[in-house]
């Protein structure tokens, strides 16, 4: 079984995040592997481990698109357990919106499947920077694959995939036939951490770097010029500041109601 997991290098949400430069793209200086992609990686590893692991011919390819630093997301994925890594990197990709991103990723996935197509494309439920959740669905559309998004559980029986998807009004059981594209939520598993053995093993694993020419994508179709949306302005919202803080002396509930009344919120 061949699984491609999409991993993204994103600004660490623990720090202040910024939009910079022309096109207001995210400043990626303090970046990490998107936490939400760790769930996808874990799901992939569990699937191949249940099928005899790499020894039985299974593999998990971690694929990241992004500037030079994005290779760190691939490296971390290898430490966690991915079999090999691929870094799609090209200056022309800078500023790509979801549509352009999905175009490049779809081409990379086709390229990686030229000999043996992947059985499964796994992604996180959203990136922790863009947070649009558009890319998984757009990839499914571009690759003409069944889309099983927001999976909170995943089972595979032969070529039949069964997943649970929790909606607002209802929870659904969803079934698809491989090959398929699956995005998983943070409810699906507890991702493992890289251990010493994994970190050492990762050093011997290969990372392939691909350019747009390698995957046959016209640079005009990606990046800011190839995007279908443009950010025209960005303004930092003034940070929230602390208001009044009181310590309960037995009447805080009443003071709370007085506050609400003063704010006309009752």
């Amino acid at each position: 079984m061949k699984i491609i997991v999409l991993v993204k290098h994103v600004p660490d949400a623990q720090f202040d995040r910024h939009l910079t430069g022309e096109g207001n793209t995210t400043d990626r200086s303090e970046s990490i592997l998107s936490e939400l992609d760790e769930y996808a990686l874990e799901a992939a590893l569990q699937l191949i481990e249940a099928r005899g692991g790499e020894a039985a011919g299974n593999k998990v390819i971690a694929l990241s698109m992004g500037p030079a630093g994005a290779v760190n997301a691939v490296k971390k994925s290898l430490q966690i357990g991915a079999s090999e890594g691929v870094h799609l990197s090209d200056d022309a990709l800078a500023g790509s919106d979801a549509a352009a991103t999905s175009l490049a990723l779809a081409a990379a996935i086709r390229h990686l499947g030229a000999d043996t197509p992947a059985d499964l494309i796994l992604t996180g439920m959203a990136s922790t920077d863009g947070e649009t959740s558009l890319v998984p669905a757009q990839l499914a559309e571009r690759l003409d694959l069944p889309q099983v998004t927001f999976a909170s559980s995943l089972e595979l029986d032969g070529a039949t995939l069964t997943a649970r998807r929790d909606g607002d009004a209802h929870a659904d059981t969803v079934e698809a036939t491989l090959p398929a594209l699956v995005s998983v939520t943070d409810q699906i598993n507890d991702p493992r951490y890289p251990n010493f053995k994994g970190i050492m093993a990762a050093k011997k694993k290969t990372i392939t770097t691909l350019s747009l020419a390698d995957i046959g994508v016209d640079p005009a179709h990606v990046g800011r010029s190839g995007s279908w949306t443009a950010v025209e302005s960005a303004e930092a919202r003034p940070a929230r500041t602390a208001g009044t803080i009181i310590t309960d002396e037995g009447d805080a509930g009443i003071k709370l109601v007085e506050f609400l009344a003063a704010q006309k919120l009752l």
Binding site: T132, Q138, A163, T229, V231, E232, I254
Partner: protein, 317 residues
């Protein structure tokens, strides 16, 4: 005049407020039409007319709900072409965003999500990076697809209502070919409380409620509020996952957010810090939630919440 197509998936017996908001925005952008999926009740048809819908499009297929997303996007793409629409508006739910995503690829149209306001020229306003930036964005393509958050505008009926014509849109036969099927559906019991995404007031509980959401529920009911939760509370199984607020839960922007027994981790703040007024009740004065609270109470939620609930009831007589 630009044709604006509003997608409404399964309106049921009555239109949601969010749908009325979309129709109101649509009128400010051009000539509104509606693409529906599911049953069309007379009341709903009448309301759509009152809100100015010129045409109602309905799919030729009745089984779109049996598949995940893909076939609905195919239907909507056909509807956009039939209507000759240049703007598509949908709600901002996870499913609607995915339909918008695929529609965008089918039409070569730019998709903008989490929109909170739209200018007459189609410029969309949204907040990004967990509410720390406000941006404007525009689709650079002939067709724009916008998913709009609930509570973005006050819905208003059209000055002159219409009696919209109904047109059936052929759903392409290939629409269901490469699609995941929904094999079982468990409807969740309705709580009788306001919908979390649309609520004006949210009372949320975290690990501090220690398995007992009673005080949170009582205060929510006194205020007519929806109930939210931190991931710690949903992971513990004290309340359904659909109540989770935050990065991997819902993003809410109510007028009032009351946070009780929640520390205020960055992933939780991501879902609530655009609330107009934030009130926090937490035993630990060092909790990060106090950095963003307009009114913070260092105290035990099991004392503070019931007292507040009593006081509200007393004031209301």
């Amino acid at each position: 005049m630009a044709k604006v197509l509003v997608f409404i998936d399964n309106p049921g017996q009555a239109l949601k407020k969010a749908s009325l908001e979309l129709l109101t925005i649509a009128r400010s952008l051009g000539e509104p039409a509606v693409a529906l999926n599911g049953d069309l009740h007379d009341d709903v048809a009448a309301t759509l007319g009152a809100y100015g819908a010129q045409t109602l499009y309905r799919p030729s297929a009745a089984d779109l709900d049996d598949y995940l997303v893909g076939p609905k996007a195919s239907y909507l793409a056909a509807a956009v072409q039939t209507a000759d629409a240049t703007v598509v508006l949908t709600e901002n739910s996870a499913e609607a965003k995915e339909i918008a995503a695929r529609l965008g690829i089918k039409l070569g149209a730019g998709v903008i999500t989490d929109v909170v306001a739209v200018d007459p020229d189609g410029t969309a306003h949204k907040s990004v990076l967990a509410g720390s930036y406000i941006t404007t964005a525009k689709a650079t393509t002939p067709v724009a697809v916008l998913t709009v958050k609930a509570n973005s505008i006050t819905p208003e009926p059209a000055v002159t209502g219409t009696a919209p014509a109904t047109v059936t849109v052929e759903v392409p036969e290939t629409a269901t070919a490469a699609s995941a099927r929904i094999t079982a559906r468990n409807e969740k019991a309705a709580s009788g409380r306001p919908d979390l995404a649309e609520a004006r007031i949210v009372v949320a509980g975290g690990r501090g409620v220690d398995g007992n959401f009673g005080p949170v529920e009582d205060l929510a009911d006194a205020l007519g509020a929806a109930i939210g939760a931190s991931r710690a509370a949903t992971d513990a199984g004290w309340i359904g996952h659909d109540a989770q607020i935050g990065q991997t839960g819902k993003t809410v922007s109510p007028q009032l957010y009351i946070s009780a027994g929640i520390s205020g981790a960055i992933q939780q703040k991501a879902g609530m810090q655009t609330a107009t007024v934030i009130v926090a009740v937490n035993k630990d004065s060092e909790s990060p939630i106090f950095e963003i609270a307009d009114f913070g109470i260092v105290g035990d939620l099991f004392q503070v919440l019931p007292q507040a609930t009593e006081e509200i009831k007393k004031r209301r007589g």
